[in-house]
Symmetry: C2
Amino acid sequence: MEVKLPTFNSVFSIDCVIFGSEAGELKILLIERNEEPYKDWLALPGYIVEQDESIDNAAERILYELTGLRDLHMQQFHTFGEVNRHPQGRVITVAYYALIRINGQKELKPITQYAKSAFWHPVNELPKLAFDHTEIFQTGFNKLRRRLNYQPIAFELLPEKFTLTQLQSLYEAVLNKKLDKRNFRKKMLSYGFLKELDEKQKGVSYRAAKLYKFDRRKYTKIFQNELNLDS
Amino acid sequence: MEVKLPTFNSVFSIDCVIFGSEAGELKILLIERNEEPYKDWLALPGYIVEQDESIDNAAERILYELTGLRDLHMQQFHTFGEVNRHPQGRVITVAYYALIRINGQKELKPITQYAKSAFWHPVNELPKLAFDHTEIFQTGFNKLRRRLNYQPIAFELLPEKFTLTQLQSLYEAVLNKKLDKRNFRKKMLSYGFLKELDEKQKGVSYRAAKLYKFDRRKYTKIFQNELNLDS
DNA sequence: TTTAATGGTGTAAGTCTGACACACTATATT
DNA sequence: AATATAGTGTGTCAGACTTACACCATTAAA
């Protein structure tokens, strides 16, 4: 005896909380909606999952179609399933987040008509967002904070070569508190996955700082154990 | 101009990974399915979400209907959205987990016909489970491990009065490694949320151990800050 | 009374954390 | 050439925490 699946019971969608950093400031990727409901509002990039794609793939596709960005390593962090999240019916959403270095090369440009534009916006002074996106953003931001405490993920946000001061500012922006310069440097260097370069910062009108880069091989070696548990 | 929601695109369900401990052994709650597909297989308690209930409510309802247990504090930990998880079509599942003390009083008894029975099974030597439930269980177990490292959640699993050795055994079962007795006791007691009782263990044929209970008020006070970040 | 089984306890070495202040250097300005 | 400016780069100490490690105490049963 075959038993059939019940008919579909929900609309299923993805929202993306993408953090970037630029000019020492932590930013988040937003789009301007071009569709009702909330037409013309700002929102997190998000859309509906297709029936024949996994949610991880859907997240990549949707982000790409709405913003032009691809190949980020997004991770889901929470699923929002209240009944009245969407004014027109039941929608359940898995939220993903990722970190990325912002650089001019990667152009932000929606592929589909559903977004008018995509752009980076500072995480402070965030405007009102469509749907429950403010809550989704907050949850994602908290997740990022907690994670930063036990995994050095900040490198994803920085250019390839960076100074220790830049790294520290980023930590301070995410954790929202001042850190002690000497202790911060001591600790970061003690991990052993920062590679000191023979280069210095350029174009500054004061003593130039040494540049470092992130040694992913050493990092992986060191954080192997923690990562193994991370599924 | 009104734009309608697309028609529903998925079946949405919940699975529950419920940990309990009994006789010093860590166990998980399973059901015997009474429905195709996977009729007669063992599985995690799980079922389909209704259109008019939030996923958190759905999780409580479903667990109750399949096992008779209620009022646990479940938390979602991951959403499974591969395309071919279910042999009959697209199903997306949010997995929840919770900890509970097993005691004889709470009878396990399915309310609905969808489960033949519900029972506790040791987490070691787990049999093959229906669908991708083995993977869901593993992910949940890893989550539990990581969480135990920064929150003393083990109390949820123990009877009201317990000995330090019982507490330690539970930690060892979850973390899957031996701990040093003296260091473990020192550390647990140093937190200050264990209340020493004037009672001792009974019915053992060796020196009886002191009983302790968990002081939830102090615990909350101490872990307030960490919890605030935990959304 | 002896045995078997588990309960209960302290110390020392090493590691990590957090607090704290000043000289150095590159450029821009006069 | 001298000086101002702005951020770079560095060491130490105290306290807290972590880890390793071994033996006597108590109870019930034989």
